[in-house]
């Protein structure tokens, strides 16, 4: 699988570039998810945040998500880029683009990808609040051991 479809990078993410990777003659629908840094989480103000990754493994896990998508939606083509390092409010942390011949599949496969990222991709977020900082985890109450294939 082409490395440029799945990447973990310190560089800014470009929505157009990543979406264009999956546009093709056979596809009529592309759904792109852009995850940005939100200022408030449950009333608490984020000043900035940092993403760390186990870079080489994280790329492999993104590729794995691409493979899982193709098992479920054989006509889909996906590209997933995740940024690491220090991010400000509204900066783009992740871009997921999925193209399919018909639109229902593009929405479903895209949503599948972001759920899986939050389960299996070794990337961690450290929130910088006004009154301290904290490594975020267990968003999905992940438990110890090999991650489940299905939610």
């Amino acid at each position: 699988m082409n490395e440029s479809f799945y990447s973990v990078t310190k560089d800014q993410l470009n929505i157009e570039t990543i979406t264009q990777k999956v546009i093709r003659r056979e596809a009529g629908a592309v759904v792109t998810f852009t995850g940005t840094v939100r200022e408030f989480t449950q009333g608490r103000k984020t000043l900035s945040l940092r993403y760390d990754a186990y870079q080489s493994m994280a790329v492999k896990q993104l590729q794995r998500i691409g493979e899982e998508i193709n098992e479920r939606w054989p006509d889909a083509l996906s590209a997933i880029w995740h940024r690491t390092g220090h991010l400000q409010i509204s900066d783009i942390a992740v871009v997921i683009a999925v193209s399919t011949p018909h639109r229902k599949d593009a929405y479903a496969a895209n949503e599948y990808a972001i759920e899986r990222i939050k389960q299996i991709v070794p990337i961690w977020k450290k929130e910088q609040w006004e009154d301290g900082s904290e490594w975020i985890g267990n968003q999905l109450e992940t438990v110890s051991g090999v991650p489940e294939e299905e939610k």
Binding site: S56, M57, V94, V121, W124, N138
Partner: protein, 76 residues
């Protein structure tokens, strides 16, 4: 020799990104038990990768393996 990579809060708690140990045959589970005692850390909700693939706690570590302690992830 085996290498253990630490991330996020574990890296801060252990005080190092990379640990190296001389090789002795054992399971992932046994290694986790040792690390919990040595560093006074809680590894209950930690996943483990061996050579960049998630591994079961019963996996037997091979000489030269690169392990990673993977706290609950929070990308996306």
């Amino acid at each position: 020799m085996i290498t253990v990579k630490c991330f996020a809060h574990l890296e801060e708690q252990i005080g190092s990104h990379t640990l190296e140990f001389s090789y002795k045959e054992k399971t992932v589970e046994a290694l986790l038990d040792e690390l919990q005692i040595t560093y006074s850390i809680n590894l209950d909700s930690i996943m483990v990768a061996v050579n960049e693939e998630y591994a079961d706690q019963k996996t037997i570590i091979q000489d030269g393996d690169i392990l990673a302690l993977i706290p609950p992830v929070s990308g996306g």
